[in-house]
């Protein structure tokens, strides 16, 4: 009895737990205070450094930013370059003149997944690159109005095409009995292409150090360092054979092979800070999660302490060398659940909502929601297309899809307009080939195959298929019924609907389609082993896309993406010559030839390009659709009376 746990013990236990919780809470409160203090301290320190730099510059009596102070002859850059109407910031400057423009406020977006890493080169997801786009800058980017390249960190460039010299040299060396590898390693060989960028003097990294040609060279060498865990970027930039500083404000990229994306490779390389990134040993860098520091309009508050799972917030880079954007902060929340994402947008907690066709249709029917939001439906120039790929060779034997007439017939049997209406609810455009209709690569003369059952039946009859009146199924010469499995990724309602639609369409012509949903991991393995009849999937396109890996006959081996074993020498020639042509007009002509061949041959049945459907909160102004999709968020703003959160 005496040992019984009584009321007094209970009170004591509760009190004890209470004391422990209180102590723990006060420790947590102290920690929070300390973190805030550290932020303030870091900010003070960076201001002190800036102040010192300004004072030193004043004492020397030279201009810190050319054109603003007393003009000197040291720079060739005209003063107006940054904020000229032609410069990279013309659209932000135009936004500033709009009524209601105000600086400040937050822009809040959501990610559907956890972002594990923000460190450039190490991060693998699209979300991380969306964040990095505001922090890192490259030498040039595409103008959203014209899609032409325009200088950003560089003030200009020259492009020297020596591919003819190179080809001649390679030929002479080969005649002398040298191997390809030996020629590639030969320092005396002339480069095929050389792109020289002139650097702007103004750019600074957000830690205050100037961005120079050295940083560009460092970036290339850093990616090429085998100890850095960046195999993907390394594979990509390894086409550049050399990056060197040719003058204090000049950097040259050399290519041994002429390559159509060469300029994009060089100009689009996000420039990393030598000062910041060279301080980490490779092992530390490989383990890092938030080492994101660049010269862009926003910065991560503290690259060394960011942890996954904490909110992703970029604050405005006060040292930005260009024109400052409007928002104080860009913030991304991680919302994994669709219903929660939509509720967050409806509540006004989130400013952006990319919708599926079904959601979009429901949302535009909601008058209340439409009144307090703005919505955009546009064709994304980098959006991909859906297709059905017909496997032409299985375990070494040609399949029934090896006959181009059969493939054409299978395309002619599909009513793509109805398919877009029923499956994508009208939010898609029919595809005629692998190139986005907005791209210059797309051949405007190619017209989509219509729905033409009679012609399809004739083509199938020519190919030796006869219809058995008993069961209404087509039989081939060998007496086998025309039946195939259509593989698609399981778990997607949209694909499911599409496959059922196709099954219906083909059943009418006497072709039996068996749906074959597969888990993604299994599906990828089947594609690698080329062990399938037909598969429906999507590829992403680009402003200028490369179709070599999907359609060139050399890519039908193991690991290649030409998993349908398609081979057409004319197409191979068109693709290969387009890829090595630097001149744009000539290149586009070749891409268009390739487009026409693909349309005629139908190795894939190209279905449609889905449209992007986006809802944006009404308080955000100056959201526009450009040739690159929605305009950059640095051009958006919120009028002062509708800003919600303080800096």
């Amino acid at each position: 009895m005496e040992n019984r746990f009584g009321l007094r013990d209970l009170i004591l236990a509760v009190l004890l737990i209470g004391v422990i919780v209180t102590v723990w809470l006060s420790i947590a409160a102290g920690d929070r205070l300390y973190r805030q203090f550290e932020i303030v301290n870091a900010r003070l320190q960076s201001q002190a450094t800036d102040l010192q730099r300004i004072q030193e510059a004043l004492a020397r009596g030279v201009a810190t930013i050319p054109g603003v102070g007393p003009t000197t002859e040291s720079t060739t850059q005209p003063a107006a370059a940054i904020d000229s109407p032609q410069g990279p910031f013309k659209r932000i400057l135009a936004a500033r003149n709009l009524p209601g423009f105000a600086r400040g406020g937050w822009m809040i977006d959501a990610f559907g997944n956890n972002v594990g890493k923000l460190t450039p080169l190490l991060s693998t997801d699209a979300y991380a690159s969306a964040v990095q786009a505001y922090v890192l800058e490259s030498l040039a980017d595409r103008d959203p109005d014209t899609l032409e390249w325009r200088p950003v960190l560089a003030s200009g460039w020259t492009l020297d095409d020596h591919s003819a010299d190179r080809a001649a040299y390679v030929k002479s060396q080969k005649a002398a009995g040298k191997t390809d590898e030996q020629i590639a390693a030969d320092p005396a060989a002339p480069p095929a292409l050389r792109i020289t960028f002139k650097m702007r003097p103004q750019p600074l990294f957000s830690d205050g150090s100037p961005l120079t040609a050295d940083d560009v060279v460092f970036t290339f060498n850093f990616i090429m360092d085998p100890r850095i865990n960046a195999p993907r970027d390394r594979a990509y930039v390894s086409r550049i054979s050399k990056v060197e500083k040719t003058a204090p404000d000049e950097v040259a990229f050399t290519f041994n092979e002429p390559y159509f994306e060469a300029f994009e490779l060089a100009a689009g390389l996000p420039v990393l800070s030598k000062n910041f990134y060279s301080q980490f040993p490779p092992a530390d860098f490989n383990q890092s999660v938030g080492y994101l520091l660049g010269s862009g309009p926003y910065r991560l508050r503290d690259p060394k302490t960011w942890k996954p799972g904490t909110p992703i917030e970029l604050v405005r880079n006060d040292r930005y060398w260009g024109v400052q954007p409007a928002f104080d902060r860009l913030s991304w929340r991680e919302i994994s659940n669709d219903a929660a994402h939509l509720a967050g947008f409806r509540n006004g907690d989130i400013d952006l909502f990319p919708a599926t066709p079904e959601q979009y249709k429901q949302m535009i029917a909601d008058a209340d929601l439409v009144a307090r939001t703005q919505h955009f439906e546009y064709q994304n120039p980098v959006g991909g297309y859906r297709y059905i790929a017909w496997n032409q060779k299985r375990s070494g034997q040609p399949t029934r899809f090896a006959d181009a007439r059969v493939r054409q017939a299978l395309t002619l049997l599909i009513d793509r307009q109805r398919m877009i209406q029923e499956i994508m609810l009208g939010y898609a455009v029919p595809a005629t080939g692998p190139f986005n209709p907005l791209s210059k690569q797309s051949n405007p003369e190619v017209q989509p195959w219509p729905l033409d059952v009679a012609r399809a039946q004739k083509l199938l009859a020519d190919a030796g298929y006869t219809r058995n009146p008993k069961d209404n199924v087509l039989y081939d010469v060998a007496g086998q019924p025309f039946s195939f499995k259509l593989t698609y990724p399981s778990g997607s309602a949209n694909y499911e609907k599409m496959v059922l639609f196709l099954k219906d369409a083909y059943a009418r012509a006497g072709i039996v389609l068996q749906p074959d949903p597969l888990d993604w991991a299994v599906l990828v393995e089947r594609l690698n082993d080329k062990n399938f009849d037909a598969v429906t999937l999507a590829w992403t396109a680009g402003i200028e896309g490369d179709i070599y890996q999907m359609f060139d006959s050399s890519q039908s081996g193991p690991g290649g993406d030409n998993f349908v074993a398609y081979a057409n020498p004319d197409l191979d020639a068109a693709i290969r010559s387009a890829r090595t042509t630097i001149d744009e007009t000539a290149r586009m002509k070749r891409w268009r030839t390739a487009h026409a061949i693909l349309h005629e041959d139908q190795p894939y049945t190209f279905l449609f390009f889905p449209k992007s459907l986006v809802f944006v909160d009404q308080r955000i102004q100056n959201v526009l659709v450009t040739k690159l999709g929605l305009n950059n968020r640095v051009e958006w703003f919120v009028p002062a009376n509708r800003q919600r959160l303080a800096p």
Binding site: Q182, P226, A340, G344, R346
Partner: protein, 413 residues
């Protein structure tokens, strides 16, 4: 008692071994691999680039080795007793011949070095060129000792997550406190509610409260969390209905700038602490509502049994009030079964938080595990399983010990 505990602790290891063995082989024998999954996450790539990347990743994470070797290596890494510095037998001659081969193919010395470093050397090794000769720059402890000498106590290493490209330990340390916080709030609520209502229902057996609470708990228990979670979001967190709670996450947007405690200055500001609690309401609600049925029924049955027991009749016969009988005699005996089931609840809550964490966008163990399984990240799944299994097994032992302490009739001698 001590020998019993020791025996139970020793039994832990074969159990853990069995669990990880099954998980490892189920993972690695299922089709698809983390490399193909990462490939789809990274988007398309040129085939030759992809093959290079694939070979690099496979080599780096040892996925190109036989499965049994992979498992043995993992086991050795996480075990506190094992071979130190495995794989440190540097085979310099082999590396040099690989380097010579690369040079013979016409590669530049730098490119050849990179090739050997990436495709032939152990990831921990750093190779360099010294006067045209390939040398290793890594300092190796234990180099040159035979394997038997390197056997001994060591620090367990949970390995590297392939998809996160970070140490698994770091990833778990970030996720674990969040899941523990959720469960730390959930378990006491479930216990207090079930205890009180179970006792009350037993005393008023067959009355309205007993029937209604019993029915209601069973009804709650039968509702799937995924549905209730979405309903709660739709009705309690949406502006169209009752916009009372946040839609997800653990903190508000501007939580960093908040004071710690609530303040009343020009209106009410909840402060950081209250904000965090406010965010926890819906997830905790989702985790608790299904747990009442089992425990309250258990409590009710056990109180009823004891109320009808001989000792209760004796107590009543000596004139004690019904109140005293219940609280001084019956209650202590009735709580015993709840102690034994406590251990079983923790693992099931860790499992239940998979759904709740993904509905409310909370980065806990549940979501981590789900992502790891989806992406087939072997290391992360194995280490997570190991940690969760360890927690479950230890809580089973703790429950057994607590049972012996609470009930003097039970002894493990």
């Amino acid at each position: 008692m001590a020998s019993y505990i020791l025996r139970r602790l020793l039994l832990l290891f074969p159990t853990l071994l069995g669990i990880t063995l099954v998980v490892f082989f189920v993972m690695s024998l299922s089709p698809g691999s983390v490399i193909t999954m990462m490939r789809s996450a990274e988007g398309d790539m040129r085939p030759e680039d992809r093959q290079r990347t694939q070979a690099y990743l496979q080599h780096r994470y040892g996925l190109d080795q036989p499965k049994i070797v992979q498992y043995a290596r993992w086991l050795n890494r996480i075990s506190p007793v094992g071979f130190k510095y495995p794989g440190t037998t540097l085979d310099l001659p082999a590396l040099r011949s690989a380097y010579a081969d690369a040079l013979a193919k016409g590669q530049s010395p730098q490119a050849a070095l990179a090739d050997v470093q990436v495709f032939h050397a152990d990831p921990a090794e750093q190779l360099a060129l010294d006067d045209g000769q390939l040398v290793a720059r890594t300092v190796r402890t234990g180099e040159g000792f035979p394997a038997a000498w390197r056997f001994g106590l060591k620090i367990p290493d949970l390995g590297q997550s392939i998809i996160r490209r970070r140490p698994v330990l770091d990833v778990i340390l970030e996720a674990m406190p969040i899941t523990l916080l959720l469960n730390g709030l959930t378990i006491p609520i479930i216990y207090i509610v079930s205890l009180v209502s179970g006792i009350y229902a037993a005393r008023r057996r067959g009355k309205a409260f007993d029937v209604i609470s019993g029915g209601a708990y069973i009804a709650l228990y039968s509702m799937p969390t995924i549905w209730i979670g979405v309903l709660l979001l739709g009705f309690l967190a949406s502006k169209d209905y009752l916009n009372a709670f946040p839609t997800g996450g653990l903190h508000s947007n501007a939580a960093d700038a908040m004071t710690f405690l609530p303040v009343f200055a020009a209106g009410f500001h909840p402060g950081w602490l209250l904000d965090a609690l406010w965010h926890l309401v819906l997830p905790v609600l989702c985790l608790t509502y299904g747990g009442f049925a089992f425990l309250s029924k258990l409590m009710r049955a056990s109180v009823l049994e004891n109320l009808n027991a001989d000792f209760a009749r004796t107590a009543r016969a000596k004139g004690l009030s019904e109140h005293a009988v219940l609280f001084r005699h019956v209650l202590a005996n009735s709580i015993l079964p709840l102690i034994t089931v406590a251990a079983g609840i923790l693992p099931s809550l860790l499992g239940g938080s998979v759904v709740v964490e993904s509905i409310f966008s909370i980065n806990g163990m549940g979501r981590l595990m789900l992502e790891a399984i989806k992406m087939k990240d072997q290391e992360l799944v194995l280490s997570n399983t190991c940690v969760i299994a360890l927690i479950s097994l230890v809580s089973l032992i703790v429950a057994d010990i607590a049972y012996a302490i609470a009930d003097p009739r039970v002894s493990y001698e």
